[in-house]
């Protein structure tokens, strides 16, 4: 890099030398012209001013070439990288924002889906519960009917039993009364004799 720069500088110096040579050549022409036409000499530098000014110019040039150029060059380079970096950064930001956007969109879809599942699950739950409730109500209604039937049936049985018992009671009471009132001693004797025959063993 330095070598390149030196080469560059040398080339610059050569160019300057050429220019000054041309400048030295030109005044001779100018002097000639002044001599010919006074008007032109007004804009041509005087030779005694011209030489120091040229020297000063050359010195300045040298100084500038030596110190100013690199500085200027550096500033340029710096600017160039800054701009490039800024460009890169903006590019990255763009990509990032695109990615984030996509992500958000994905999440949104996912959330929608989730909401849909939750809703469908809730619906499913509600449906199941409704079915269960209906079934339960149905079952209960049937049970109540069955129970009522059962109660009716048992009431009927109980009524029959009661009636049967009272019929038996009345019949037996009548029987007892007949025996008590209408049996003669002879009848009783007969009964006793019959009992004696029927009686089994007493001495176990």
């Amino acid at each position: 890099m330095k070598a390149q720069f030196k080469k560059f500088a040398t080339r610059g110096t050569a160019a300057c030398a050429l220019a000054s040579a041309m400048a030295f050549a030109a005044p001779t022409l100018a002097f000639a012209a002044e001599r010919e036409t006074a008007g032109i000499s007004a804009i041509l530098p005087a030779m005694d001013e011209f030489i120091p000014m040229l020297v000063a110019f050359l010195i300045l040039l040298a100084i500038l070439v030596k110190f100013g150029w690199p500085m200027f060059n550096g500033i340029l380079e710096k600017r160039e990288t800054t701009i490039r970096e800024a460009l890169e950064k903006s590019e990255q930001a763009r990509i990032e924002s695109e990615r984030v956007l996509a992500e958000y969109q994905d999440k949104l879809i996912e959330a929608r889906q989730e909401a849909a599942t939750i809703i469908s699950e809730a619906k499913q739950q509600a449906e199941a519960q409704r079915a269960a409730t209906t079934a339960k109500a149905q079952e209960e209604a049937e049970k109540i009917i069955a129970k009522a039937r059962e109660a009716m049936e048992s009431e009927k049985t109980a009524a029959i039993a009661e009636l049967q018992a009272s019929v038996a009671d009345i019949a037996c009471a009548a029987m007892a009364r007949v025996v008590q009132e209408d049996f003669s001693d002879a009848d009783h004797r007969r009964l006793i004799e019959k009992s004696i025959e029927e009686i089994g063993t007493l001495n176990a």
């Binding site: 049985t157 039993a161 049967q164 018992a165 019929v167 038996a168 009671d169 019949a171 037996c172 029987m175 007892a176 025996v179 008590q180 049996f183 001693d185 009848d187 009783h188 004797r189 009964l191 006793i192 004799e193 019959k194 009992s195 004696i196 029927e198 009686i199 089994g200 063993t201 007493l202 001495n203 176990a204």
Partner: protein
């Protein structure tokens, strides 16, 4: 007053022996047996009577009179005996004494005492039939204690040694009634 059951047993034996001696001397062994049976029932049924009997503050004559009132045709000696038992606070033993007495009589005279309950009083022919029937079973002479009980409606009940044959019409009717009014069908015991 809890006492030794062997002592109580001895006491019962003593009471029964006294009664037996009494019966033998008066020649009323079987009538005492029948009266004891009746007395046992009445005394058991009426706690008030038990109290009167056991009450020392009432003098003996009054108590004897009360007992006479209750048991009109009973043996005087027997009534006195029961009052004596009551005074000794042994009235609760009366059923056991009666039982022991019967046992002693049956052992001593080799007889079997049968309680026969009927609606009409027995005549000799029926008595003979009953005695014949059971003499074969027991292998002993049979002594009948007769009871007349209108509740039986007809037929008769015979008891001996804590067992009974119930042949009376009342029981039969009751059994028919129970059978007719019972409802349960299935199931076996």
């Amino acid at each position: 007053m809890p006492r030794n059951r062997l002592l109580i047993k001895k006491e019962i034996d003593a009471y029964a022996e006294v009664l037996l001696e009494m019966g033998e001397s008066n020649d009323s062994v079987y009538s005492i047996s029948a009266q004891l049976e009746e007395m046992k029932k009445v005394v058991n049924m009426h706690p008030g009577l038990r109290e009167v009997l056991a009450n020392d503050s009432i003098d003996e004559n009054t108590r004897v009179t009360v007992m006479h009132e209750v048991f009109k045709e009973f043996d005087v000696e027997l009534i006195k005996f029961v009052i004596f038992m009551a005074e000794r606070r042994d009235i609760a033993l009366l059923p056991r004494v009666a039982e022991r007495y019967d046992q002693m009589v049956q052992d001593k005279f080799d007889v079997a005492i049968l309680d026969v309950a009927t609606v009409i009083p027995l005549d000799d022919e029926l008595r003979e039939k009953i005695k014949n029937k059971f003499a074969a079973q027991f292998g002993k002479e049979i002594v009948l204690r007769e009871h007349v009980d209108a509740w039986l409606l007809g037929g008769m009940n015979v008891r001996a040694n804590g067992r009974r044959v119930d042949c009376c019409t009342a029981t039969r009717i009751e059994r028919i009634r129970a059978e007719l009014s019972s409802v349960s069908t299935g199931g076996e015991r």
